[in-house]
């Protein structure tokens, strides 16, 4: 029971005289708690902890009516939606992730300036001179990836549980917008470290904008996005502002539209508990009600604790956000990819349609009629997005039962498979045509970490095992005390000798010590030069001519190579 203040307002001294100090302390504490919780007195907090049922009238609904934060939350849930299925808490997790990103993002902002002159240096500073800098960065990056995953899965679940159907079409549509914002939020952040990875991923990503028809518009869109024909200082600033202000604010706003609708219609019940065509989410019989306070609140707090534990432990022990070399606009890494959630677009741009024509031996249509980049890079994705937006309004099947939705479920699975396939097609593992020698050099020592080969095999050799000398794959005699070097040389031998595009191929490896703690590793590939009839080309003396490709890298004792 709440205590009432005696009138007129007494002095503390009088209070103590009248009630004794224990009681006065309790009264004041009670007052404080009641105010902070917007209506739950201390005695009620004790009841909640003891697991006792609420009294009538129920003070536990006060925070929903009196308080700001909970006014958007329903005061009770239907018992059928409080388990893992059907929501899997994916919407909740998406929102939590957004909050965590905001907090860690502000931390990172303190140390970051969006200018090509210092951005990369700032990143280094965050990693080597800011306490908890790496942890914060890793949590932010891991959280961003997790948010994209959570939002995508959340969309899939609302599709598969048919929660997008009447009356929740608009909720779905706002959700699609949230998905787009989430993707672009993540994508815009991708550029900020200003390393090779980010620079080229974003270059690839934004190059699609250029294909927006008509060409004049495409150029303008590209200019608006990048601030110049290529990404530079202007582009970085634009992406930064998108990332820290524009997109988060919009996302936050649209989220509340989304969530208002969710609460307004009630969380959809699992399809099997309602009669076909019914929507009883808002008509919860009293015995099915689970109060938000305390039951759901505790659940949600638990999910939050679990999520934070996942991110912190994951970032501290299992995940390191990548940071490659400084961005270099003049040097395109061999296998550049968009971020994974846009790989499907990169796959589309490799154009499955044209590849299919090639397979069938049919001629490709002229690019004046069929502009692949425009159709696959802009028009098709635009149509897909538009379709997703209006999809619920086109679905006239009123039943949410799984057994009544065979076609929709199959279509959903086909969509997911197509997405997966296109994502695979987007990776450099699929239909990338660079010459065999370049691929070999890339596999053994890429100049930038490679999406397929990582840092390359050469960099797995511990520094001490880089024994200076010249090694010829035609007569390999690696030093006995350098097993890893021997392995890599064997691999190289096998690789050049078995590659059909490198006839009679061999490699010469030269390792030399350049400075104390610094070694140079050079690979020279040689293979037979063939003419158009696949016959060896010969010089005047009739000797076969060999072609050559060479690359050298340097390895320092302190850089993490060698499995460090």
């Amino acid at each position: 029971m709440a205590l009432r203040w005696p009138e007129p307002i007494p002095t503390l001294q009088k209070e103590v005289q009248q009630y004794g100090w224990r009681r006065v302390i309790f009264m004041h504490l009670d007052e404080l708690v009641t105010r902070v919780t917007a209506g739950i007195p201390l005695t009620e907090v004790r009841n909640i902890i003891r697991g006792e049922p609420p009294p009538r009238p129920n003070p536990r609904v006060k925070p929903h009516t009196e308080g700001f934060i909970l006014h958007i939350k329903p005061s009770f849930y239907h018992e059928a939606v409080t388990r893992l299925y059907p929501t899997f808490r994916l919407g909740l997790l998406s929102f939590y992730l957004f909050l965590i990103e905001t907090i860690t993002g502000i931390f990172l902002m303190i140390f970051y300036t969006p200018s090509p002159l210092v951005a990369y240096e700032n990143m280094l500073r965050i990693l080597n001179n800011v306490p908890f800098g790496q942890l914060m960065r890793d949590v932010h990056r891991l959280g961003a990836e997790a948010m994209v995953v959570a939002v995508m899965l959340h969309m899939l679940r609302t599709f598969f549980t048919a929660s997008y159907k009447r009356p929740r079409q608009f909720t779905w549509a706002t959700g699609v917008i949230l998905l787009v914002f989430t993707l672009f939020l993540s994508f815009s952040g991708y550029l900020l470290p200003w390393d090779q990875l980010s620079y080229w991923a974003v270059t690839i990503g934004t190059s699609m904008a250029e294909a927006t028809p008509p060409p004049a518009l495409g150029r303008i869109v590209n200019l608006i996005l990048r601030g110049a024909p290529d990404i530079g200082a202007a582009g970085l600033l634009r992406f930064y502002l998108l990332h820290v202000i524009f997109l988060p604010l919009l996302l936050f706003f649209i989220f509340f539209v989304h969530y208002y609708k969710v609460v307004r219609h009630g969380l959809s019940l699992p399809p099997e508990v309602e009669a076909v065509g019914d929507d009883t989410a808002r008509k919860v019989p009293p015995e099915k009600r689970v109060p938000y306070i305390p039951d759901i609140a505790i659940q949600e707090a638990l999910w939050g604790i679990g999520l934070i534990a996942f991110l912190v432990i994951g970032a501290a022990f299992f995940y390191d956000a990548p940071l490659e070399q400084h961005a270099d606009p003049l040097n395109t890494p061999l296998h550049t990819t968009a971020p994974w959630y846009f790989l499907w677009l990169q796959g589309l741009l490799k154009d499955p349609f044209l590849l299919a024509l090639d397979r069938l031996g049919l001629p490709r249509p002229p690019s004046t009629i069929y502009n692949s980049k425009m159709i696959m890079g802009v028009i098709l994705p635009g149509l897909i997005l538009f379709f997703l937006l209006i999809m619920p309004y086109l679905d006239f099947n009123i039943s949410r039962r799984y057994s009544h939705r065979r076609k929709a479920l199959v279509a959903g699975l086909v969509g997911v498979s197509a997405w997966t396939l296109l994502t695979y097609m987007g990776t450099p593992a699929f239909a990338v045509t660079s010459s065999a020698d370049v691929e070999v050099l890339q596999e053994f020592m890429p100049l930038n970490p490679d999406p397929l080969f990582g840092e390359g095999k050469v960099r797995t050799i511990p520094y001490e095992q880089l024994v200076p000398g010249t090694y010829d794959t035609r007569s390999l005699q690696p030093p006995a005390d350098a097993p890893r070097l021997a392995r890599v040389l064997e691999d190289l031998k096998r690789r050049v000798e078995t590659d059909p595009h490198l006839p009679q191929g061999y490699a010469i490896v030269r390792i030399s010590e350049v400075q104390a703690g610094l070694k140079r590793f050079e690979i020279t590939l040689r293979w037979l030069k063939l003419d158009e009839h696949h016959q060896p080309v010969r010089d005047e003396q009739g000797n076969p001519v060999f072609q050559e490709a060479k690359r050298a890298i340097y390895l320092h004792r302190d850089s993490t190579h060698g499995g460090g």
Partner: protein, 294 residues
């Protein structure tokens, strides 16, 4: 065993503890982690710098900073010596790092006093984009790290002047020469008294007629004998040995085919400082070897 609420409380407590312990562990190891990251990054910067050096600098300063006659001075240990010299003689007040950085970034538009007796075809160009060069600031930093590493990485053997260099003095008596050791010196299999390898073969070929920078030395014993007879010869040599000696110690005394081998009127492309690296024995051995090339 426990009811749902208790299980939740236990679960939440365990997760929170795990999070707090993880943060605590990160906290405790943060200093080391940051130091380690800095070392790793410095290693990478040196690697990058080495690649850039190979691409942009080695043509003039030599793959190992040993310098290229006629193109650019040695950097290892040249820069470090030059810096010390400037500090001592001119009160140069900047740091070594900045000295190197400024030189790379802005070039040397005007010849400094360093290696003043050598002639270089062109001044050092500017490299930083700030001054119209091709390199970004971070690339300049990488180059600086690489160059500093010659010294920082430890024993760049300090040039020990514990030997008596022959310099340009033609009158110092020479001991008997050993052509075998002379050949080894030529092939850089043994070092000169200064500890540096003889750089002769960087510019002179032993194949007849092949010109790298200077003329081929194939048959030099014979050619030397003809040279001292030539009407335009104005050096002091009386014998082929003396002619070779003079050419090494005082390349400007007589320049063969000046339009081919002079960097400026009266100044040979061949550095006049080679004698500073050699003891009398080195010189005698080299001459003995060259005299075998009939």
């Amino acid at each position: 065993m426990f009811d749902l609420a208790t299980r939740r409380i236990i679960g939440a407590t365990v997760l929170m503890l795990a999070t707090v312990i993880t943060i605590g562990m990160v906290w405790l190891t943060e200093e080391q982690r940051m130091a380690r990251y800095e070392a790793i990054h410095k290693g990478k910067a040196i690697e990058n710098g080495a690649l850039l050096y190979e691409q942009y600098c080695a043509t003039c300063h030599g793959p190992n900073g040993e310098g290229v006659p006629g193109k650019g001075p040695d950097l290892n240990p040249g820069v470090f010596q030059h810096y010390e010299e400037l500090k001592q003689t001119q009160n140069y007040a900047n740091s070594l790092r900045n000295f190197i950085k400024l030189t790379i970034a802005a070039g040397r538009p005007i010849r400094s006093t360093y290696r003043a007796d050598e002639v270089y075809a062109e001044p050092m160009p500017t490299w930083s984009q700030d001054f119209g060069g091709p390199l970004r600031p971070d690339q300049i930093e990488n180059l600086v790290e690489f160059i500093l590493n010659w010294q920082a990485a430890g024993p760049t053997p300090a040039p020990t002047p514990s030997f008596e260099a022959v310099g340009t003095d033609l009158t110092k008596p020479l001991p008997p020469g050993d052509p075998k050791r002379g050949e080894a010196l030529w092939n850089q299999e043994v070092k000169q008294a200064s500890g540096a390898a003889a750089s002769c073969k960087a510019c002179h070929s032993l194949k007849p007629g092949e010109v790298i920078v200077g003329p081929s030395l194939a048959g030099i014993a014979t050619t030397a004998a003809q040279r001292i007879q030539a009407p335009d010869y104005k050096g002091q040599a009386k014998t082929p040995e003396e002619y070779i000696r003079e050419s090494i110690q005082q390349p400007n005394a007589y320049i063969v085919e000046p339009d081919k081998y002079a960097a400026a009127p009266g100044v040979s492309k061949m550095p006049a400082t080679l004698g500073n690296q050699m003891s009398v024995q080195d010189l005698a051995d080299l001459i003995a070897f060259l005299m075998t090339l009939k």
